[in-house]
Symmetry: C2
């Protein structure tokens, strides 16, 4: 017991000293040794016009880019060709993607007073019969209320989820699971309040997930205004009948691709820092915040490094992942192509939270507790904080504990250190998955900051004398 | 000369003393003598539930109420019957109103990449031929740019006004005059950026005004997002062709009415304080902020006075004016029915700026300069400030110089003192004339404050020993 305590004490002291001394020293080194280079990158990014010009072209001339659409493939071909013209090493990684099409769709109140409602079918929804589905609604404020009503009250009805806004993750679950939960009780369709805190009669689309055990019924997003109206009609005791028409269908998988561009490492080309966003979007708006601006920011960061003649020690790679929105096939394909050994990948950076005013990065590392004083995590965290200091001049260097992203998830789960670019996150879900995710919502200076952040973080991680985290080969995973 | 100066001095002193002493004394009297009564009204209003219940019914079961629509007449009949049931003296004042109907409408980009655009035809617009109007667009950022382009560039085109937001009054002029200014150069249709500072792909309708000298071409509002997109396509040098289809038409005038309810004065029933809002709305949304909530607030204020057994010295009248939005026929008819002698009317209070958090009233008086130390204006202003003090407890007693409203304009121009209820005015134009002018945008406490304000201000003006401004008979107008 005494020996155990002593051992514990020595270990703890060693850990504390490690935390206090080693990372801090490494941190200071990173800040100091990259100050001039970071200044070059930052200066170029914060005065850059080419990135904005690319983003303008993408959002204006191409527009939205759902998987399977000609627009997505046009965007992919455009980016690939232009990256090559810029002298970046580039290639396409073929990926088969789901091909859901919205088709014509409409929602009308039939009685008591006919009117058309703003709506957007949910991604992946089945369509209705050609004549539509006409049925009375049953309005619920949550799943508990639905289940309490039971089959007798729900069968043959259109379930309206007039749910409260409790933040995105709390409200969006009705979009994901609402159709099948309603179908389980015999509902013929589901209408879901849009997952947003701001509405000017603006429906928000996004994926639903069918429970394979239940009949697949069509589902659409309605506006905050109409969800509230349905709830008030219920409170007034007025029965409402609606007619939903949706031509939506899922076609055979379509050909698509991840767009890859890189600057090969000058010393360790086989070691890679990968960064990017997803190039696909929903089929409304322009896919500006989600996630076109992120893709262009990562690409332009790479372009600026090349223009500055900065070739890092390791390979710095940009990936514009395909099909994040309704399949994640791009992120999965990239991860699968690496196989089980992802030790080639030093770090992965994803940006998929819009380009509001950026504040820093969140950092996640599998098999470590980001809050628990894990020495491996803490050492890397200190290094990232040191790199973050290089971005203090644009208020964008804060490193938060925990982070990552959907497309780099497959890498992170295998142990690749992951970073997610973070913003103030004030308005992202106002525009998210709507016709209003458009370039007018993006601020040029915020966008430039993102370019600077990805340029500095990507370059330093790729160029630093040591990897962010020692390779798995040197320190095998716990399991 | 000396005698003139002496006379000027004496007059000025008298005026200054009048300003300093008399109104202040009268003011203090008003504040003190109505403190208890105001407390009763305020307490009842700030705990009232009946007004909100009425507003809920109006916005939910009836909905929007354009002139000529069955909804407007249903709302009028409902209010009239319910007012009578509440024991208020009530009547309908018949008014013939314009009857414009929107019909089916749509706007598509035909090339280079087909898509449907959110739009709302402008009130009063003519329709298109049944097959629609298909033509290339010409994009301008203001009237100067349009005029500089000239007929050669504009003829046969659809003019897109991608104008900046410079506040409502600055931007809305393109909605009003855009069609005829474009038609003057041979344009076949006009598309106008919605007059708003906030957009989630949300078009705002409202009236246009045709210049009778020019051909009448159809016109519609487009979203901020699409106006920006058109401007960017122009900057990219890409020609855009659109197809506009509008079934809009103006039918024969329809029967409608102002709804009038009152508590007859106990001493001077022939003297009237009138207050209200307009009961009609545009044909989208629920006419909640514009202007249903104001109508119900005025009505509920009167109902509360009656419930409290408060019968003022003079008559306190509520008018729910019809057809403010596209004709002002209700306000005009009310004024015309009085004839030239409006001396029966002690004051008119209008509320037509939404029910955001109210802050007070603006006060206007014809033939006086509200900023210039006019003794008639100042005396009345001091009295209003004294009444305003009774509303300090709900932060709603500020009296601003200048104010009024469209429906009371005909009265004010003939000399009736006019007040407009004022709010913080932060979001009104976000929802104004859209599908999002709905009850979920109205706050119960803000609404209750408006009820309290109209109750206190209306009651004290109707009950005060002296009129707010001496009657024209006692002090004839200057001209």
């Amino acid at each position: 017991m005494h020996r155990n305590l002593l051992w514990l004490f020595v270990t703890a002291m060693a850990l504390i000293l490690t935390l206090i001394l080693t990372p801090a020293a490494a941190a200071d080194d990173l800040t100091e040794s990259y100050r001039d280079t970071a200044g070059q990158i930052l200066g170029a990014a914060m005065t850059d016009v080419e990135g904005w010009e690319k983003l303008t072209y993408l959002t204006t001339a191409v527009g939205h880019r759902l998987s399977g659409s000609p627009q997505l493939e046009e965007a992919i071909d455009w980016a690939h060709a232009r990256m090559a013209a810029e002298g970046l090493e580039t290639r396409l990684q073929p990926v088969m993607v789901p091909h859901w099409v919205r088709g014509e769709e409409s929602l009308h109140v039939v009685s008591p007073r006919p009117r058309e409602l703003a709506m957007l079918g949910l991604g992946g929804s089945v369509g209705t019969p050609e004549e539509g589905i006409e049925a009375p609604v049953v309005v619920v404020s949550d799943f508990d209320e639905l289940d309490a009503l039971g089959r007798e009250a729900v069968e043959g009805k259109v379930v309206v989820y007039a749910v409260p806004w409790v933040g995105y993750s709390g409200t969006v679950r009705y979009r994901g699971a609402g159709a099948s939960r309603a179908a389980a009780l015999g509902a013929v369709a589901a209408l879901v309040r849009s997952a947003t805190g701001l509405s000017v009669s603006s429906p928000h689309t996004g994926s639903l997930h069918y429970d394979e055990e239940q009949p697949k019924i069509p589902a659409a997003a309605i506006t905050v205004e109409d969800a509230d109206w349905f709830a008030r009609m219920k409170a007034l005791g007025q029965e409402v009948t609606v007619r939903l028409k949706m031509d939506a269908e899922t076609l055979d998988d379509a050909e698509s691709a991840n767009v890859i561009a890189e600057i090969r490492g000058r010393e360790l080309p086989g070691e890679v820092v990968v960064m990017g966003g997803h190039f696909d979007s929903w089929d409304v708006g322009q896919g500006a915040h989600d996630d076109g601006a992120s893709c262009i920011a990562a690409w332009q960061a790479l372009k600026i490094l090349r223009s500055l003649g900065l070739q890092p020690r390791r390979t710095l790679r940009v990936v514009l992942w395909t099909n994040e929105e309704n399949g994640l096939r791009g992120g999965k394909a990239y991860g699968e192509a690496l196989g089980e050994d992802v030790s080639t990948h030093v770090a992965a950076i994803e940006m998929d939270g819009g380009v509001e005013r950026p504040v820093g990065f969140g950092f996640g590392l599998a098999e470590t507790d980001s809050e628990g004083g894990d020495p491996v995590y803490e050492a890397a965290y200190a290094k990232l904080q040191a790199i973050g200091k290089l971005l203090d001049g644009i208020d964008a260097g804060e490193i938060q504990r925990g982070g990552g992203g959907a497309d780099i998830g497959p890498l992170m789960r295998k142990g690749v250190p992951g970073l997610g670019l973070r913003t103030v996150g004030e308005h992202y879900f106002d525009w998210h998955h709507t016709r209003a995710d458009t370039l007018d919502k993006v601020d040029l200076q915020d966008f430039r900051k993102a370019v600077a952040m990805l340029g500095v973080m990507g370059y330093v991680l790729a160029d630093a004398p040591e990897r962010l985290v020692a390779a798995p080969a040197e320190e095998p995973p716990n399991e």
